[in-house]
Every structure is written in structure tokens, then in C-alpha cells.
Symmetry: C2
Subunit: 322 residues, 2 copies
Amino acid sequence: MNFANLSFEQPLLAEDLLTISQDKRPLVTFQFEEYLVVKGKQVNNSLNEAVPLRHPIKIHEAMRYSLLAGGKRVRPILCIASCELVGGDESLAMPMACALEMIHTASLIHDDLPCMDNDDLRRGKPTNHKVFGEATAVLAGDALLSLAFEHIASNTRNISPDRVVCAIAELSTAIGSQGLVAGQMMDLESEGKEVSLNELEYIHVHKTAKLLEACLVCGTIVGGGNTADIERVRKYARCIGLLFQVVDDILDVTKSSEELGKTAGKDLVSNKATYPKLMGIDKAKKFASELMIQAVEELAYFDAARAAPLYHLANYIANREN
Amino acid sequence: MNFANLSFEQPLLAEDLLTISQDKRPLVTFQFEEYLVVKGKQVNNSLNEAVPLRHPIKIHEAMRYSLLAGGKRVRPILCIASCELVGGDESLAMPMACALEMIHTASLIHDDLPCMDNDDLRRGKPTNHKVFGEATAVLAGDALLSLAFEHIASNTRNISPDRVVCAIAELSTAIGSQGLVAGQMMDLESEGKEVSLNELEYIHVHKTAKLLEACLVCGTIVGGGNTADIERVRKYARCIGLLFQVVDDILDVTKSSEELGKTAGKDLVSNKATYPKLMGIDKAKKFASELMIQAVEELAYFDAARAAPLYHLANYIANREN
């Protein structure tokens, strides 16, 4: 099979994956949908336990409202899958996985604020500040951010503390003024302006890709991966991260608000930089396809059975419909 | 000397401290003002280096604007002093000390937002959102919060990683929905309502005291303290933390905006709970005095020379004028 011919609309099949794998065990037996459902449920259970409804009730209600709003848990699952990729058990990665979803949720709550993107809908529900008010939304974001680090530091078990510190360094770097915040900052500054491809990539790499990279790298660290493992996973992650945003932009143009569960077409209307706007919808889809191929190639260095979830995740991110 | 007779207006003298110290070395030789100046400068230098002005410029300008606005660095100095109390070198505590100031600053930036306390002045200067806009202020707070954990995880040297993880757990717990955020939440909810003494103490313990406790406990952890050391420092910290807020409330009533560098009397005007409002100014001062005495008694278990900064800090917090 020629991977250059893989198009965005043409899902990567398990049979195809075998041809680029060093290990020839039948990946077709891997049930990806079931994997997502099972891992998603385990993440949801852990998140539910991590934020009990206690005093002061309102702040915990606000935290739980957004955290348990039924996202796809892509970030926690990436973390668990990379932990398993290098032979680690899911339980090693679960506190880290939950922390990643807490941080992602915190950034969504703050991004939706009236002074930021001013969004009314998120995952098909009114945004946090619409339900709880702005002050509580700011605090709920802050609390989820703090809880993420607390959860890692207090609940990670059976991992040497130097790996925990290393993972915390990786994660915190990904979300600060050289990561997530930098992306959001440049995104806000680009509104209403002409944006070059370089600027567009800067925004997406920082706003989306760096956190996805941290998910995968942190999973590899807590799973026991060595330096070479970490660097390979990092390369895979960089492709996947950008892929995620490109697909997001494409979906934003092609889907309705009802299908997406958020205010669709908003980025385009507000003159915000998006890939389809800059390179056209067809080239954006081709770009997504190329990114997926590059990502999958990095996985060839690992045991094929353990790599199966990440093979399928690349394909899933490329072909998701909401 | 009878410590029960110590009043708020009567500073604790170094000679008095000797009488409750196990070690009779002349504490009078300790130059407290010089200690504050030297440590404050070292903290300022480290903070300046920790947040270089890089791309994206605006977010780093906003972070630096509030972080380097010239606070007294009480939190970092508490951290360094407790590290030294148990025999640790200042360099062990410096990344943690800087992180504490970053977190404190992040909370001030968010607290000042229009949707929160809506303050225009902080440390004698326009608040962050007044200068950089609300969106940047939200992001600057988020970035400082992230940077705090990054700074600890990436720059702490010569400390076993299990102590670093333990300190991160302590710190993150202090600032989340069971700490700082809980205090701010209850504070916002109490506006315009009658507040009991229990509720008032809850707000202050969570909004102020828990972070000060974390400063001291984290300093003790990175300084090499054992469990007994940590618990004694924790007791000292709880007294000091509450003392800090009581004095803050008293200053808010008795001083003008110009002297304080922030909008004075605001808590009273907006019907916010304060100690002077609830128990009267004289009883509030007596309460402050009692808290200082309890704090100082915990220090008697440590080497007097090493404990000198914390003896004097208790006195300084009780008697500060802005």
C-alpha cells in the first residue's frame, strides 16, 4: 500500500497498519471502538471520584459541570495509550490522565469567558459562566488547574518520584506562556487581522498540539519509557496535535452547531485564522491526511499490539465527525 | 515577661524572644531589616530571571508587570526562612519561593478582575486588567499558575524528588477548591450578607492562611525537615496566617489608600466581612497579639539562631504598617 495515496476520507484500515508494522501479529483483532468506550468509562469514573461534591458546593458544582460534561476524553486516552505503548499498566497513568482532562477543561472554561472567546455553548450545553456566573467560572478554571497538579502529586502510585517530577515539568511547560496560554494569546491578537501560515501554525501548535504532546509524552514517562521512546512518541504527538486542530477547523466549516455541540462557523465569521480559510477545504484535508501518515510511521518502532490503540487513534482523530 | 500582656502595638523585642528560647545565644545580633532586604532582593532577582520578556511579548509583559510590582515578598521569605530553620541552604528553597510569589500574584490578578472584586489599584499601581485588558489578565494569571509548577519541577536542585513531589502536593492543595479558591468563593458569596465568626475564619484561613502555611511547610520539606519539624512549622504557620489577615483587615480600616497602595476601606464599604467589623478594632488587635504569641511558642523547639528570622517575621507581620 502506498501511504501517500491515503486520503482524509479514506480511513486507515487495520490491515493497512500491518504493512508498516515490524510485528506481524493480527491487529485486526484489536477492537478500537471498545477500547475507547472502556477507557472513556474508566476515565469518567476516575474524574467523578477526583472531584467529589463537597463544601463549598457551588465551586465544586461548577468544576464538575464542565469536567463531567461528556467529552470524548481524547487527552486522557492518549496518555493511557502511550503508557501502555511502553509496557506500563493503565493504573500508572490514570492520575496523570485525569489531570490532563482537568487542565483541558480549565482552559475551555476560561477560553469561553465573555472577555475571551465569549462562547455560549460548549459540548452542547451552556458554557460554565452562563450557568454559574463569570466569577465562579474564573475560579472553577483556577481550581481545576490546581487540582490537576495536586492529583498527580498526591495520587500517582508505583512510579519513581523523579519520573513524576519530570512529567509535571513537561505538562506545566505545555500549558504556560510558552504553550497553551501563548497560543490563546496569539489567537486573540490575530482576530480581525490577516494571518500568515506561520502565525496560524504557531497558534495551533501552542493552543492545541503542545497539550496533546504532553499527554503522550507524560504517558510514556509514567509508563517507564526510555529517552528514545519519549522522542519517538513526541514526533508522533506533534503530527497528531496539528492533525487534531486541522480536523477541528474543517469540522467547524462543514458541520452545524447541533452536530458539533458548539457554536459552529464562529471562527470563520469572526475572521479568525483557520486552515480551511487559509488553504481551502481540499488542501486542508490533504494536509490532515499527510500528518496522519507521518504520525503512524513513528509507531513502527514499537510492539505492534501495544501500538494498536495509537495507530487507531491517529485514524480516529483524522476521521472524527464531531 | 508575661506574653499575655503583649499588645499589638508593642513590638516583640529580640530580648523578649530569648526568654522563650531553649538556646540562649544573643538573638539581638540578628539584623532582621537587613535579612528582609537581602532576601527580598535575591527573590526579586530570581523572579526577574524566571520570567524573561520573550514572545509573545504582551503576555510576558503582563506577567512581569504584576509579578515585579514590588511586593514585600513575605511568602518567598517565609519559605526561605523555614528552609533555613531546619538547616537547609537558601538555594534549595529559591525555586519554590519564586513559585509561591507567582501563585500569589496569579490569585491577585484574578481577584482584581471586574467579575471578581473589581479593583482598580494594587500595590499603588493600576491593576493588571486595567493596563492589559481582561483577556490578557485572565491568561497572565493562568500562565503564572502554570509557571509556578514548571519552575519547581524544572529548577529545584539537590533535593530528592520525593520531597519535590510532596511539596507540590502541599502547595497545590493549598490553592485549590479546598484552599485559596474556596476562600475566594466564600468571600464572594458573603458579600452583602451577615457573616458569623466561623464563616469569617473559614474565608481567611482558606483565602490567606493556607497559602502562607504552604510557604512554610514547603520550605521545611525542601530544607530537609522531618515529620515533627513539619508539624511544628505547620502550627506556627496557622497562627501567622490568620495573624496576617487580621492585621490586613485592621490596616484596611485605619489607613488611607495612599498609604496602603490599594483601595482602602473597600471591604467595609462593600459590607464584606472583616475582623474589625465583627469584633471591633480593639478586640481585633488583641486577637492579633494572641496569635503572635502562639506562633512564637512553636519556634522554641528549634535552634534559636536559625529560628530568629521566623521570630522576627511573626513580629513584623503583627506590626507592619502597610
